[in-house]
């Protein structure tokens, strides 16, 4: 007979709920919204693959709370020339199985990450720029890239490092725990799919000592159930707190809420590709010959009609921040010239008249129902604000994401709300994929669904992508943003807050990148 190693935590927490007995301070139960689908850290870049990996495995770099790179398993890195990088590794790091970390492990992990073709969201994204990896000595690597890649460390820095001794380990080997060996602060204990993952402190960790002896990550996908689990003391921390529950949790003296604006941006894509856009009509509902959205004045007018603060305060319960550009504050390439557009209906009407639409035009707005919190409600509010500004709203059509995203990618909408989280240190990849002129062959603008196109902007981003000097690169990105936002290539709406809640004085490092890492949870007595 086999008993799961629950170390009677459930019993303990229930006891705590019933009799007020406090569980040992060094054990933690973390209620998480995202269940783990694989323990293989190289299979997917989806949160279902990497959310827990960040505590078990290390990477070459760490991503700080400000999104900037910090040394991880790599101590330092420098470009030898435009195509070659030298990476010095951290000495005296050991894996959970006791073996020593060296350059061969990095070479192995980068190779493994690129060899998972049958994944719909492959980790190979992060090693696509690597031509070859040369092991110079135990702690030195040389990486040759296919083209000048200033952001190499940001890309390969996402790859989790596993021991080269694993050889051709399969996903099943990782899932069983046999191959789930990293150098991170917590080592794998058990995984019950869809229910929980347990880890325990790794005492030989090279960094700050882990603050918890044992952690159980309990998957609770339903938001209300997550809140209830925290209220009843069955878990100590929850992530993705539903905005509607925040006031109630804040009012509870046992609980603490940690919230911060995240990099998750909601923005309005506008169809700039078609001359007669599918969902644009005249005020009578007849198709229009020209697409008014192609006129920057119309786009600016649409932006000025939006009261972003009201949406953030009323619809998002204050858990959102108005956005004026696609970069989050603090991210490289964030431009100080581009605050959110003010709410100015008069100016918007004047601009519409100037553009030749004094009576407005008709439009249908699309959004996804099941991707971000309250998007459909925001879409309704935006439609009403546009109606107030003189646009005739034919309909607001919100669909399930699987249907919506395919249609949006095919260019079947005219105005549609999209979400994007870019947690890289600067905006170059975001601008390249999202806003450069669509070019399938060169791989530019692959997510430019509205087909914004401006050659001056393209040239600036292309230059930034090749620029090794950080300050020069950031300046190029700022200039590019000023152009793109200046003519409203998209209409930024708001950044969502990321919110966590804890009980019993436990603290959490609320972070922009929306990482629910165990390393961000600190015991009450640590403060």
């Amino acid at each position: 007979m086999f008993r799961t190693k629950l170390w009677s935590a459930t019993a303990l927490t229930v006891a705590a709920a019933v009799g007020g007995v406090q569980a040992s301070a060094s054990d933690l139960v973390f209620g998480r919204s995202t269940p783990q689908s694989v323990l293989d850290p190289h299979y997917t870049v989806q949160p279902t693959g990497v959310a827990i990996a960040t505590d078990i495995y290390d990477r070459l770099v760490r991503f700080g709370l400000d999104l900037q790179l910090e040394p991880g398993l790599a101590l330092s890195w420098k470009p030898l020339d435009e195509m070659t990088w030298e990476i010095k590794l951290r000495p005296e790091v050991v894996f959970h199985d006791g073996s020593t970390f060296d350059a061969a492990d990095v070479a192995y992990s980068l190779e493994r990450a690129s060899s998972m073709p049958e994944s719909p969201s492959p980790m190979s994204v992060n090693v696509a720029a690597v031509e070859r990896v040369e092991v110079i000595d135990d702690l030195t690597l040389k990486i040759v890239t296919k083209e000048p890649t200033p952001l190499l460390m940001n890309q390969i820095g996402h790859v989790f490092i596993t021991p080269s001794e694993l050889g051709d380990a399969t996903t099943a080997d990782f899932n069983s725990g046999a191959a789930a060996i990293g150098t991170g602060p917590y080592k794998f204990v058990s995984w019950i799919p869809n229910e929980n993952v347990e880890v325990e402190a790794f005492r030989d960790y090279w960094g700050p000592a882990p603050e918890w002896d044992r952690v159980r990550m309990q998957f609770i996908t339903d938001p209300a159930a997550r809140t209830a689990a925290l209220l009843s003391g069955q878990v100590d921390v929850i992530d993705a707190v539903p905005p509607a529950d925040v006031p109630m949790l804040k009012a509870n003296a046992d609980l603490t809420v940690f919230s911060a604006p995240s990099v998750r941006l909601l923005y309005m894509h506008l169809d700039l590709a078609n001359d007669n856009s599918p969902w644009i009509t005249d005020t009578e509902g007849n198709p229009l010959e020209v697409n008014p959205l192609k006129d920057p004045k119309v786009r600016k007018a649409l932006s000025l009609m939006l009261n972003r603060q009201a949406i953030a305060d009323r619809i998002m319960d204050g858990l959102a921040a108005p956005a004026g550009q696609v970069a989050a504050p603090g991210q490289g390439g964030f431009s100080d010239n581009m605050p959110p557009d003010p709410y100015d209906v008069d100016q918007a009407r004047a601009l519409l008249a100037e553009a030749g639409y004094p009576d407005g035009f008709g439009m249908t707005l699309h959004c996804a129902t099941d991707r971000d919190v309250n998007t459909a409600e925001s879409a309704q509010a935006i439609a009403q604000m546009w109606a107030r500004g003189g646009i005739k709203i034919n309909a607001v059509d919100c669909q399930p994401y699987s249907v919506y995203s395919s249609a949006a990618t095919k260019g079947e909408f005219s105005a549609f709300i999209w979400g994007r989280n870019d947690s890289s240190p600067d905006t170059s990849l975001n601008l390249r994929n999202g806003y450069m002129t669509y070019d399938a062959d060169r791989g530019f603008g692959s997510y430019n669904r509205g087909r914004y196109s401006n050659q001056e902007f393209d040239a600036l981003v292309a230059a930034a992508l090749q620029e090794f000097d950080q300050e020069t690169r950031y300046q190029l990105l700022r200039d590019a943003t000023d152009i793109m936002i200046g003519e409203h290539g998209v209409i930024p709406l708001y950044f969502l807050n990321a919110t966590w809640a804890t009980r019993g004085g436990i603290t959490f490092d609320a972070n922009m990148a929306v990482n629910s890492m165990i390393q961000y949870v600190h015991p009450a007595d640590a403060m």
Binding site: T10, A17, T44, P122, S406
Partner: protein
């Protein structure tokens, strides 16, 4: 009996086949999982390679033939999300759902039938009216709301019962079961009760209606005249006559419970397979959708089979040969 069984199996195979065709066409109309799941940082090249590796660049008929070829050799394919054979994922989660559904079924029978019987025998009694009022609530209140209310009362306010997960489990026959430990039973109570509320009401009403109808029939009067004890009349003659609709409803409802226990499972973070189908559809995980629906078809066919067999024991007039 044998021809009946063969015909049943043939029907089931046909349903399976048409289901796979429908899923293929349906998923293809929506799009492909690469566009939904791939990282926004991906270059066109990486995206194209993923699409090719998964075969989405092929025409649909060829994708389907490849799938059928593999399926006939027993390989439904790996889930795109879990990178594991899709059937393995389902079998991993089936015991949790099965356990929950069986306990709910048990509750609906042991609570529903006696209460329904009582309400049928004494329709004007105050208690009977209360039972009927309760059954209306059981029908009409949405499951997720009742589930959340149960959590609010029994977990958050009273602190009696846990509401998250399966608790401590014991492995029997390679599967984990909660009902063999006290901690596991505590974890089972709320979700099972939540799931069975609708069934309890249904069984109660069916039993009551059946009793009301049967009690005035000639054979009951005759049995009374013959001097049989009321206990024997009710427990043997009446009950046996009203069981056919009850068994049908319980049987088919059981299939539905297994297939779509998603609401209860997500409210109580129960690691069953209910949520699997929703998640899989959201990311167009085609092997998973196909495997899941195949499983459901098999479950429904099996349950129908069992229900038909129970009919014959309850009512000898029912012959399997005439059943379609």
């Amino acid at each position: 009996m044998i021809t009946w069984l063969i015909r049943r199996l043939f029907q089931a195979a046909l349903v399976l086949l048409s289901m796979t065709v429908l899923v293929f066409i349906g998923v293809n109309v929506i799009g492909n999982p690469v566009d939904i799941m791939i990282s926004p940082e991906a270059t066109q090249d990486v995206r194209q390679r993923a699409i090719e590796a998964l075969g989405f660049d092929q025409p649909l008929w060829r994708q389907y033939l490849t799938f059928m070829g593999n399926a006939l050799q027993g390989d439904i394919g790996n889930s795109y999300v879990y990178n594991q054979p899709a059937f393995d994922i389902i079998l991993q989660r089936l015991p949790a759902t099965l356990e929950l559904a069986l306990v709910a079924l048990f509750l609906s029978v042991v609570i529903g039938i006696p209460l329904g019987l009582y309400a049928g025998l004494y329709p004007d009694n105050l208690l009977s009216k209360a039972i009927m009022a309760f059954s209306i609530l059981g029908f009409s209140l949405p499951t997720f709301w009742v589930g959340l209310m149960m959590i609010m009362v029994f977990t958050v306010m009273l602190g009696w019962l846990p509401s998250i997960g399966r608790g401590e489990t014991v492995e029997v026959l390679g599967m984990r079961w909660s009902f063999l430990t006290w901690d596991g039973i505590q974890h089972l109570i709320l979700p099972a009760l939540n799931l069975s509320l609708y069934k309890i009401s249904m069984v109660m009403r069916l039993t009551r209606a059946g009793v009301r109808e049967t009690i005035s029939k000639d054979f009951v009067k005759f049995a009374r005249a013959k001097g049989l004890s009321p206990r024997r009349i009710i427990l043997v003659h009446v009950l046996k006559n009203i069981m056919i609709p009850v068994v049908t409803v319980i049987g088919l409802g059981f299939g539905g419970t297994i297939a779509f226990a998603v609401v209860t499972e997500s409210v109580f973070a129960w690691p069953g397979m209910g949520k699997l189908i929703i998640d899989s559809i959201n990311v167009l995980d085609r092997p998973m959708i196909v495997a899941y629906l195949m499983m459901i078809v098999i479950i429904f066919v099996t349950i129908n089979l069992i229900v038909d067999l129970i009919y014959t024991t309850l009512d000898p007039r029912v012959r399997l040969e005439t059943q379609e």
